[in-house]
């Protein structure tokens, strides 16, 4: 192979590469949940009746409320990027803080929701649950594992966004270098998308 040499090729920042890397990583998250959606679909297919009954125990109101919270937090996340692009640093920080607050709201709701279930004796391995038909055991198994893993992602997301806020404060993230914030945003939106599917699949089975 013949090669001609160029002088002074310098290494430069490549935001497209950073975003590409983030997207690729998101695929792994997608498939992590994908594996569980596979489980869900199979068991729902093999135990339609039990799933139907079990879903009645979930509180649609809390579920809907949480969906609204998460969608709104996605909005504020997107807005914080729009703000930093327009050099509105303070506004961007405010939006990030709102996002974090909403995420907390989501977790608090989840806490009460899970708490109520535990109170009724519905948790993995409990006698109440074990006395139910196997489809219901599977439903609640999936419910805890999937929303639990999702909740874990929300918590991780909060930590990441908190870091972004600090970075924005310290001008590490600026109007012409905000790819970190974009990456955090991508992650947060993915968490949102997962919930968009979890919600109807668990709360809205009729």
């Amino acid at each position: 192979m013949s090669i001609q040499h160029t002088a002074a090729a310098h290494i430069h920042r490549d935001d497209v590469a950073s975003r590409m890397g983030m997207w690729l990583f998101l695929f792994t998250e997608l498939l992590l949940f994908g594996g569980m959606f596979i489980l869900y679909s199979v068991y729902r297919f093999t135990h339609p009746q039990d799933f139907h009954l079990a879903a009645k125990e979930l509180n649609t109101v809390i579920g809907t409320f949480n969906t609204a919270i998460l969608l709104t937090s996605s909005l504020t996340m997107a807005l914080s990027i729009a703000a930093i692009q327009r050099r509105q640093k303070t506004l961007s920080i405010i939006f990030q803080l709102i996002t974090i607050l909403l995420a907390f709201g989501f977790m608090v709701n989840k806490y009460f929701e899970w708490g109520a279930k535990f109170h009724h004796g519905i948790y993995p391995g409990s006698d109440t649950l074990l006395s139910k038909p196997s489809g219901e055991i599977l439903f609640f198994g999936l419910y805890y594992v999937m929303t639990g893993l999702h909740g874990l992602h929300v918590i991780i997301g909060v930590v990441i966004i908190a870091f972004m806020t600090v970075f924005t404060l310290r001008d590490v993230i600026t109007h012409d270098n905000y790819v970190k914030l974009e990456a955090a945003g991508l992650y947060w939106h993915l968490v949102d998308i997962i919930w968009i599917f979890l919600f109807p699949l668990f709360y809205l089975i009729t």
Partner: protein
């Protein structure tokens, strides 16, 4: 991104082995984000695990020398084949070529100074190390090493009292390490190719690493979640797989193989890349059917994700499932066939020099063909019912994983060693060792095909006397392999310290970019980024001969 460009060209000029960065001594290695140093970190840690895994293999062979107890009790045997499988798969063949040679050479082959995310790259090595340590820990903790087989089939993996959880977490973490490598490579190939290097000017090993990286990204998370769920099942008893609670253990197997079948292509594709790289160099001519080889890598990655349930033909799937998966398994053999034929065709009218790397490559083609063809036999439904879970399978996968990927790894090591270290090993010795490896390998595994067809199940501590003759031959094979493997490592280690110095850029007469830069490479590979104008493997002087011949 990469190191700041404050270094003057002079400082950049020094070999990556001598380069002094922010840290010195051992930290200069452990904290280095240089892709070449990370590649070497992987090489060292991988070799350690290889030796551990191989020792377990050797001990299993000793145990199987005679029926009944030879050297260990059944519990030990069960743990040993589990550890052997886990170490060989998750710590050796899956990371294997991409982590060592991919890290070291991928950026060089595409004319880049480093990978896209050097720090992520280092992180992935640390994850690998942590995963490896956890695997070792699972041996040492009270309770004893896991005894489930590397497949962790439920319900046994939920019932046994051994340290399954550390082993699961080890595999989980190693999965993440593998994912990060994949993310890095896809981005690197997309964003960092030197000017002029369009897709069809990339060396073939880059194509196969690229295809591999996609499989790593897409398939690995599935096993991550699946193994996590086994742990959850053990700890909380949620019942997602446990039949006692209504779960379906067959679904576990589906999820396990959705990853683990594509994983076999994570293992073999990079080795195929190495083969495509080495053959033109030692045949001293252009590769035959460049595009077909490149595209077949993509095809393998694609079809590879469609055949997973051929591991479950006796598990009681629906007939439709059996039909589809058997049919697709047949199809996946075709791109491999295309590769093999193109490699053989590349020898035609070449000028073949049988150096050690070439010997390993030829053995690769032979052994991979045996492994692949028996793989196709296993894809045939009625045949698989007979040979499933027998030593026929064991022979198949050692032929592809050890005879294929393993030999590909050894070929790569012999091929790139002088470039990586600027030292040359003893070539004569290397050739002799090769023959011992070749003979030992085939003696070790071929008898397993025969006894497998006759009905010798796998994961058997003990067996009927009629199979002993095959076991004895097989164990003798492992005794030939022992000295060979020792000598091979010995040869390299000796060369590192006392070997002849190599400063020549191009020891073998290759045409890809790594042979155009200093030996060993300088810190950031290229003083100036090259502009690529031609496809690899041109060997232009051969072309001239052809034309003059035709003119006559």
């Amino acid at each position: 991104m990469s190191n700041e460009n404050t270094l003057s060209n002079n400082e950049n000029d020094v070999s990556y082995l001598e380069y002094k960065g922010k840290h010195s001594g051992i930290l200069g290695w452990l904290l280095s984000t240089d892709h070449k140093r990370i590649g070497l970190l992987y090489l060292i840690s991988l070799s350690v695990f290889l030796i551990v895994g191989v020792t377990f293999g050797f001990l299993m062979r000793l145990e199987l020398l005679t029926p009944g107890r030879t050297i260990m009790d059944p519990q030990t045997y069960n743990s040993i084949f589990t550890l052997h499988g886990v170490i060989m798969i998750f710590l050796f063949v899956v990371p294997g070529l991409p982590a060592v040679f991919g890290n070291f050479f991928l950026p060089i082959l595409i004319g880049a100074r480093d990978v896209a995310f050097p720090r992520l790259n280092l992180l992935s090595w640390y994850l690998y190390a942590v995963g490896g340590l956890l695997a070792i820990l699972s041996i040492l903790l009270p309770g004893g090493p896991a005894d489930t087989g590397w497949t962790f089939y439920i319900p046994y993996s939920v019932r046994t009292n051994t340290n399954v959880i550390p082993a699961l977490f080890a595999a989980f973490i190693l999965g993440f390490s593998s994912i990060l490598t994949g993310v890095n490579f896809v981005t690197t190939v997309h964003r960092m190719r030197a000017p002029g290097m369009d897709w069809f000017k990339m060396p073939l090993s880059v194509w196969s690493l690229y295809a591999t990286a996609w499989v790593q990204i897409l398939a690995t998370p599935i096993i991550g979640i699946t193994l996590l769920l086994v742990a959850v099942e053990r700890i909380f008893g949620v019942g997602l797989f446990d039949p006692a609670l209504g779960g379906d253990p067959v679904l576990y197997q589906h999820l396990f193989w959705i990853y683990s079948h594509p994983a076999v292509y994570i293992m073999i594709l990079p080795a195929m890349g190495v083969v495509s790289e080495i053959i033109p160099v030692f045949a001293h001519r252009t590769i035959f059917g460049y595009r077909f080889i490149a595209m077949s890598s993509i095809a393998i990655a694609l079809f590879g994700s469609l055949v997973w349930a051929h591991h479950m033909f006796t598990a009681g799937m629906s007939d439709t499932g059996q039909l589809i998966f058997s049919l697709l398994t047949m199809i996946v053999a075709i791109p491999s066939a295309i590769k093999v034929f193109n490699w053989v065709a590349t020898l035609y009218k070449g000028s073949i020099d049988l150096q050690p790397p070439m010997l390993y490559v030829l053995a690769f083609i032979f052994q991979f063909s045996i492994g692949g063809l028996t793989g196709v036999m296993q894809g045939v439904l009625s045949v698989d019912i007979q040979v499933h879970d027998t030593s026929f399978i064991v022979a198949h996968f050692h032929y592809v994983m050890f005879g294929g990927t393993g030999f590909g790894f050894f070929a790569a090591l012999h091929y790139w060693f002088p470039k990586m270290f600027g030292k040359m090993y003893n070539i004569k010795l290397a050739k002799r060792v090769f023959w011992a490896m070749f003979v030992g390998f085939n003696t070790l595994y071929f008898p397993m095909f025969i006894m497998g067809w006759l009905g010798m199940p796998r994961r058997y501590y003990d067996y009927l006397p009629e199979y002993q003759i095959y076991h004895v031959i097989s164990t003798i094979g492992s005794w030939i392999l022992v000295p060979a493997l020792f000598l091979m490592f010995g040869n390299f280690i000796y060369a590192l310290f006392k070997g002849a110095k190599v400063t020549e850029k191009n020891v073998w007469g290759g045409e890809t970019l790594e042979w155009q830069i200093a030996t060993p490479p300088v810190h950031e590979n290229f003083i100036d980024i090259p502009i690529v104008t031609e496809s690899p493997y041109q060997y232009k002087d051969n072309e001239l001969v052809l034309q003059t011949q035709e003119a006559k």
